[in-house]
């Protein structure tokens, strides 16, 4: 007898935090067409209400759907709708699997090991991710909780070591920036805040309240983002605009005793976060697509998804420098708009309409 997986609210909070912070570590001009500027740290501090607003549609839907995932709820409304929503969210999670892997692959092949094939790192990351999917949701969340503690402590250690190198002259006032810069920074941060995806898929599996976990995430994650942006700016100053991976460069400046730099720690934090993110995204992608797959083909779904994600991530990291598909801000904002706002609201509205119809239909009197 298999029991329904139970994830603690604390584990969900840890995962959301790790997922968001790691994406910020990967901040690169290549991905965002935007250099870290004075408005970014201010935008990070202003982010909490926007993050909460971003989750509102998901919670509106959750109120209507109860403890079932967005796909299960769509199936309960109608089968064709369920299929369409599952396909859409499956594609969304596939995108979320490919995104961090290809960014990491691009980082390693462009900075550390250019001699490696672009296929090497996606394969290295997605093979263990497939194994993690086999081990299940609870195992991934348990590991993510541990990794988030390790990663965030490492991050704080890097910042602490860099403190003596903070130069106040490097910190410029955000108010000298051109009009609209703050809004752009906010939009950029929101376009990378895709954690609501997970919230939409897991309401039934979380013990102790998804809302509490998300609220904690919305309040704490911006503090880490602020810390990262502020550290990069305070240590590197305008030099950060010339760096492809500014936080990695800043960690390279940190020295502890005989250790010449902490860039390896930054890279380790990055890969651990990417592993956790890609594992969960792959698992949820499989979960979305499973009802659409013929029974005979179901055992092959995970290997197929893993292979497809590896190929896509490899292609994307190889062509990232040419900006073929760089997960730019407009694309990611579109994803946020469709998946996190439009679809949940649409499903909530359809659910309400169905409920109203049921209420209006008079019950057949018993004879």
């Amino acid at each position: 007898m298999s029991r329904r997986p139970v994830i603690g609210a604390g584990q969900l909070f840890c995962y959301l935090l790790l997922s968001r912070v790691v994406l910020t570590l990967t901040y690169s001009i290549n991905f965002n067409a935007h250099t870290i500027g004075p408005t970014d740290w201010l935008a990070a501090l202003l982010l909490p209400p926007f993050l909460l607003a971003l989750a509102l549609p998901a919670f509106v839907l959750r109120r209507r759907s109860g403890p079932v995932s967005v796909c299960e709820y769509a199936f309960s409304l109608s089968k064709p709708l369920g299929r369409a929503v599952s396909l859409l969210y499956g594609a969304g999670f596939f995108l979320l699997t490919v995104l961090p892997v290809s960014r990491f692959s691009f980082f390693v092949t462009s900075t550390l090991q250019p001699e490696k094939s672009p296929l090497f790192f996606p394969l290295l990351l997605l093979l263990p991710a497939c194994y993690a999917v086999c081990r299940g949701l609870e195992a991934i969340f348990r590991l993510s909780a541990l990794l988030s503690v390790v990663c965030l402590l490492s991050l704080l250690a890097i910042v602490a070591v860099l403190l003596p190198r903070f130069d106040s002259l490097n910190i410029l006032s955000p108010f000298y920036e051109p009009r609209g810069a703050l809004g752009l920074s906010l939009l950029l941060l929101l376009s990378n805040s895709l954690e609501v995806f997970v919230v939409l898929m897991l309401p039934g599996a979380v013990r102790g309240g998804v809302k509490k976990a998300y609220l904690g995430y919305a309040l704490v994650a911006p503090l880490f983002l602020f810390l990262i942006f502020y550290t990069v700016l305070a240590v590197l100053g305008p030099y950060s605009a010339l760096q492809m991976f500014p936080f990695y460069t800043a960690a390279g400046v940190a020295k502890v005793g005989e250790l010449r730099n902490l860039s390896a720690v930054a890279a380790a934090v990055w890969i651990l976060g990417v592993f956790a993110k890609s594992s969960l995204s792959l698992l949820l992608c499989r979960r979305c697509l499973l009802p659409l797959t013929p029974k005979a083909a179901r055992p092959f779904l995970l290997p197929a998804l893993g292979a497809a994600a590896t190929a896509c991530a490899a292609w994307n990291s190889a062509t990232m420098a040419e900006n073929k598909l760089n997960f730019s801000m407009p694309l990611m904002l579109g994803v946020v708009g469709v998946y996190l706002i439009a679809l949940p609201l649409l499903l909530a509205a359809l659910g309400k309409r169905k409920e109203n119809r049921h209420r209006e239909t008079p019950a057949v009197p018993a004879r």
């Binding site: 029991r3 603690g8 990351l125 348990r142 909780a145």
Partner: protein
């Protein structure tokens, strides 16, 4: 039905028929004494160690059957035969005579009736003496066992500084007594059962009523009852049947040779399985953190016990990761080494013909061969193996320029670290090789990912919904007082630890 399912079902049915033979009803004993003796003899193929003593007392024919060296002849004489021959008057009716002997004559502490022929070989092999009576279709089995057995000795594999110097032995009853002596509560339950189609090995499930989760007890009981295996000669035969994922490198069922350790686990709601012929006791479930605990922790000062535990966790990390990390950094990211260390390493490695990965693989393989050779040999020869190994590897290989001296240090540190947690030696040894390979091929990132996978594997293990990585994952703050740190006894005594009450364990047991 696919081919695999068909074959599985086919073999399952065949095995069930082999052991249980459900078609054949049990054959009752005959009232004819000679017929019964012949049947037992036939069952043993006239084996020479089956002794049959026929005697006639007051015109009534008896036979006493036993296996050589399995019973105490003195006890048998005192408890039955002397009294039987000296009895003033036996009832004339065979059934009444049997009841009279059973109730009034025999003083054996353990006795039972056997009514079928199939029961007799099992009873004989368990050290019972059988009394058969002409005209009566029932046999009286008398518990006068006297096996050649080793006495209680000091533990060989789990030696402690201050804890008791008593270990389990091969005799099941004695092992149960060792538990009873420490746990005088009547809540200690012992359930006997037989495992092994041919060996019919006696086993016992022990648990504390009220402490152990009924779900866990039931799970262990059902698993043991369903085992289909020819012979169970060691508790290790049963372990995979109890494991939630037998193919996983990390065990969910542990073993101990210490009765005090077993009692401590019973108090925490675990279930112990004792198997006749095995000086080890299986403990289910065994959490990952328990590999880092020992009985000595609870007798030492809490601060020192905590220090030792932290040292063990660090040793586990070193034993798995150190060689892989060295290879990964040395081959792919040497810039991470401090400058002075870097130049020393380059100096040592520049003359060797192999890459770091091959060096590490070779040295570790030689080391494992030496360890295995030393382990199975007599102690005196084992020392010689160590000396040869130290000379060959330590001196010759380095001076011949085949292996760098730093690699020897890495292997030595790794080997020492792996002995700190002996119960995890085998998973650690396998993972160490995997780490070296991954470190050589994929570098630092590969090592980090593989270590994450190891953690994921441990985090995914459960025994009856009890997470094996608890109380770390899922995190349980209150249970930390006996996980990473060891709180003082006043604190530990205030809280009752129950394995099924850990965070993440099945809700119904909390």
């Amino acid at each position: 039905m696919n081919a695999v399912t068909f074959l599985r079902q086919f073999f399952h049915t065949a095995r069930q028929q082999q052991y249980a033979d459900p078609q054949k009803p049990p054959e009752p004993l005959s009232k004819n004494l000679q017929e019964n003796i012949t049947r037992v003899k036939e069952a043993y193929g006239n084996s020479d160690d089956l002794t049959v003593r026929e005697l006639t007392v007051q015109n009534r024919r008896f036979a006493c059957l036993a296996l050589d060296n399995m019973v105490s002849k003195d006890d048998l004489n005192k408890m039955l035969l002397e009294k039987l021959t000296a009895a003033p008057r036996l009832p004339t009716d065979a059934e009444e005579c049997f009841s009279f002997i059973e109730r009034s004559l025999s003083t054996a502490p353990e006795q039972q009736r056997a009514e079928t022929v199939d029961e007799l070989p099992t009873l004989l092999a368990s050290g019972f003496a059988l009394l058969l009576l002409d005209g009566c279709a029932v046999a009286l089995a008398l518990g006068v066992q006297h096996f050649p057995a080793r006495g209680v000795e000091a533990p060989r594999n789990e030696e402690m500084e201050r804890a008791a110097h008593e270990a389990f032995v091969e005799v099941l009853r004695l092992n149960v007594a060792l538990l009873r002596r420490r746990m005088k509560t009547p809540a200690l339950r012992v359930e006997n059962l037989t495992v092994g189609g041919r060996s019919k090995t006696a086993a016992a499930i022990c648990y504390l009523q009220g402490s152990a989760s009924p779900k866990v007890v039931d799970f262990v009981r059902r698993r043991l009852q369903r085992i289909e295996i020819d012979a169970v000669l060691e508790s290790g035969y049963l372990q995979p049947f109890l494991e939630s994922r037998p193919l996983s490198l990390f065990p969910t069922v542990g073993a101990t040779e210490r009765p005090d350790a077993a009692c401590a686990k019973l108090c925490e709601g675990r279930v112990a399985v004792l198997v006749d012929g095995t000086p080890f006791c299986l403990i289910a479930p065994t959490l990952f953190c328990e590999h880092f605990q020992s009985m000595d922790d609870y007798t030492l000062h809490p601060a020192f016990a905590t220090f030792v535990r932290l040292l063990k966790y660090f040793s586990f990390f070193m034993a798995i990761v150190f060689p892989g990390l060295y290879v990964a950094i040395g081959e792919n990211n040497p810039e991470i080494f401090p400058t002075a260390v870097f130049f020393k390493l380059v100096d040592a490695e520049v003359t060797t013909p192999f890459s770091l990965m091959w060096e590490a693989l070779m040295i570790h393989t030689i080391y494992e061969i030496m360890r295995e050779a030393g382990l199975r040999l007599p102690q005196s020869v084992g020392h010689a193996v160590s000396i040869v190994g130290a000379l060959v590897i330590g001196e010759s290989a380095v001076s011949a320029g085949l292996i760098g001296a730093p690699m020897i240090i890495v292997v030595a540190v790794t080997a020492l670290s792996s002995y700190v947690i002996p119960t995890l030696y085998y998973p650690v040894a396998i993972l160490r090789f995997a780490m070296i390979l991954v470190g050589g091929i994929a570098g630092l990132f590969g090592v980090i990912l593989l270590f994450s996978l190891v953690l994921l594997e441990i985090a995914s293990l459960e025994f009856c919904s009890i997470p094996i990585f608890a109380p770390f994952l899922p995190f349980d703050r209150t249970a930390m007082r006996d996980a990473v740190v060891r709180a003082g006894w006043p604190t530990l005594a205030r809280h009752t630890a129950r394995v099924q009450a850990l965070h993440g364990a099945g809700e119904e047991d909390r």
